[in-house]
């Protein structure tokens, strides 16, 4: 009771953040330049969250103030999307977007990141669209 109306805000937030990341990654893939600071932060937050999920490392102490992964629902969605890439070292691949000096490796990383964030966007949007109950 006296609840906050936030249940579906979390999924919509995540979908919008993932959409923003995909758009920035698309630009990066075409231009081949450096990731802007917003994209760098988004990639770092995703990496921190994945690390916390897989190793038990602290999460909240390291996230940026604007992180898309700050509640269980969002973390759970991230976990679900990660599990849809079995046998892939998601963290290592995402890290190449901002870290790798080899352009070919980086290009592969960007392509993977687009696929990963697109999946995250779709999953979050799906959850948002289902959050209104069981009407249809």
């Amino acid at each position: 009771m006296l609840a906050t109306m936030s249940d579906n805000t979390n999924s919509l937030s995540l979908a919008l953040d993932a959409r923003t990341a995909v758009k920035a990654l698309n630009v990066l893939r075409k231009s081949g330049g450096e990731a802007d600071s917003e994209l760098k932060t988004a990639m770092e937050d995703a990496l921190i969250s994945l690390k916390a999920l897989n190793s038990g490392a602290p999460l909240f102490a390291s996230l940026s103030p604007s992180s898309a992964f700050e509640n269980y629902e969002q973390i759970q969605t991230l976990q679900e999307v990660e599990s849809a890439f079995p046998g892939v070292d998601v963290q290592a691949k995402l890290a190449t977007v901002t870290n790798d000096n080899d352009p070919a490796q980086r290009h592969v990383g960007i392509t993977f990141a687009i696929e990963f964030f697109s999946a995250l966007e779709k999953r979050a949007l799906q959850k948002f669209n289902r959050s209104y109950g069981f009407g249809i």
Binding site: M1, L2, A3, T4, M5, S6, N8, T9, N10, L12, S13, A15, L16, D17, R19, T20, V22, K23, N26, K51, A52, L53, N54, S55, G56, A57, P58, L59, F60, A61, L63, P65, S66, E70, N71, Y72, I75, Q76, Q79, S118, E121, L125, F128, N129
Partner: protein, 474 residues
């Protein structure tokens, strides 16, 4: 088979229709009704965002020779814009429903003025909307505004207005006074979000949980528990914020809405119940919340006087106060997955409690220019008895004359609401009032209800008068 450009054009037209169906409600609204200024700002925002969404779609569709890949990207933009407009959709009609005749306008003005005593929120305002649920809601602006702005960024639209909260009240309570004393709790959620307190508390909770629980505890599961404790922290902060703002009226409304007096036996003592002591993942137990509210009522100077009230509402508060923090449990009725000790979770939460009080004091304190939240208990104590005397005689307590020939005193809205609510919950007050009115029966719940409503109306009128008088004086 149609090409991708044709398909996406149709998708865009479909979204155009949907957006128009929402914004038209704001543009072509009933001219006979008026809305509070913050609601008008909301309607303007929606109308402008709709116009920008539509022109963005048109411009994208008009780009010649769009590559199939870009068409697919636009289709995803359309999908996310539709979802975003679906999110806006849920607020437009409820805000339209809440015109000035369907809101306790004077009470809300008094409440907002009290909220604005907090220096950092001195220019914050609130939009109120009707909810079909018997519940009070706060839209988390700290989450909502950046997302609304993100939606807007896609279409180069307007930013959601600054310093504007969004609070939902049950449609049936639009003319009530007492039960709406729960609204300050929602203002607390606004404060919690605006100051990013959840993120800050999550950091401390995580640190404490790691030291309490096994380090190998999985990160995902731990996040769920952090969120659970953060929910308790937020709800409790909002309760205490509401008490600081509103006094015991909030606690009485809480007892009333949640029927918390069911915790009492026939001698008004605590009736043991495991359910009453159990934390759930979203909320601390009601008795725990009341217990902490009493602590603030004590520290703010309300409690001693309130205890003299002959009311089972107040007895419920006393029962809650006499319990101990360690009486409360988590995971007893709904056993956990045994990967952690639920007692440690409650222990972590209890460890955070001093930080909640500290944060409350920090938020409601003044600065060099403004004194912060004024002590409501002092205002109530100085005029409460006289306000009740006026109500007993069916007189609107707008201006109080302490002694014959004395200058009139204008009570504050916070004194009016607390005195009036105390009068209403005292089990002897209303029957006494009815005994002095012809053709009424103090055993008739219809009569009691009718005259209780009159008491609310007299109080609301008094609040309206004192606000007008204050404006005139300024």
């Amino acid at each position: 088979m149609s090409n991708i450009q044709d398909q996406v054009r149709q998708d865009a037209a479909s979204l155009h229709t949907f957006v128009s169906s929402i914004s038209d409600k704001c543009v072509r609204r009933n001219g006979a009704v008026s809305y509070p200024e913050p609601s008008e700002r909301f309607f303007s925002y929606i109308s402008e965002l709709a116009a920008k969404t539509k022109s963005y779609l048109q411009a994208e569709i008009e780009i010649p020779n769009k590559a199939p890949e870009d068409c697919l990207d636009l289709r995803r933009d359309i999908a996310i814009l539709q979802a975003s407009w679906g999110f806006m959709h849920q607020f437009v009609k409820p805000v339209l429903d809440a015109d000035t005749l369907k809101l306790p306008t004077a009470f809300l003005q008094g409440l907002i003025a009290r909220f604005q005593e907090i220096p950092i929120f001195s220019s914050t305002d609130f939009i109120f909307y009707h909810s079909s649920l018997l519940n009070y809601f706060n839209v988390k602006l700290g989450v909502f505004k950046p997302r609304a702005d993100q939606i807007s960024r896609i279409v180069d639209g307007p930013k959601f207005p600054e310093k504007l909260g969004l609070i939902g009240i049950p449609y049936s309570q639009s003319s009530s006074l007492f039960i709406n004393c729960l609204i300050p709790h929602e203002m607390g959620h606004y404060v919690f979000g605006e100051l990013s307190l959840r993120k800050r508390f999550c950091k401390s909770i995580e640190g404490m949980l790691i030291s309490c629980l096994d380090v190998s505890f999985p990160g995902g599961r731990r996040t769920e528990l952090i969120e659970c404790i953060a929910n308790w922290v937020e709800e409790l902060f909002c309760d205490l914020f509401a008490v600081r703002l509103m006094g015991f009226s909030f606690s009485l409304a809480f007892v009333e809405l949640f029927n918390s007096a069911t915790a009492l036996d026939d001698q008004s003592r605590y009736k043991e119940s495991k359910e009453a002591l159990e934390f759930d993942p979203n909320y601390p137990p009601d008795l725990f919340r009341l217990r902490k509210q009493v602590a603030v009522l004590k520290s703010d100077g309300w409690w001693e006087e309130l205890q003299k009230t002959n009311s089972h509402y107040v007895r419920t508060l006393e029962v809650a106060e006499k319990l101990d923090d360690t009486d409360f449990n988590f995971g007893v009725l709904t056993p956990s997955d045994k990967s952690y000790d639920p007692a440690k979770v409650v222990e972590t939460f209890l460890g955070i409690l001093p930080n909640i009080i500290e944060k409350l004091n920090e938020v409601t304190a003044g600065d060099a220019e403004k004194p912060g939240i004024q002590n409501g208990a002092g205002l109530w104590k100085s005029s409460g008895k006289l306000i009740e005397e006026y109500l007993k005689n069916g007189v609107v307590p707008s201006s109080l004359i302490p002694d014959s020939g004395a200058e009139p005193v204008f009570p504050s809205p916070v004194a009016l609401i607390n005195a009036s609510y105390r009068y209403y919950v005292d089990v002897e007050s209303l029957p006494k009032l009815l005994s002095s009115i012809e053709n009424t029966n103090c055993n008739s719940i219809g009569d009691l209800s009718y005259w209780a409503k009159r008491v609310e109306m007299w109080t609301a009128k008094a609040i309206e008068d004192v606000i007008l008088l204050a404006k005139e004086r300024h």
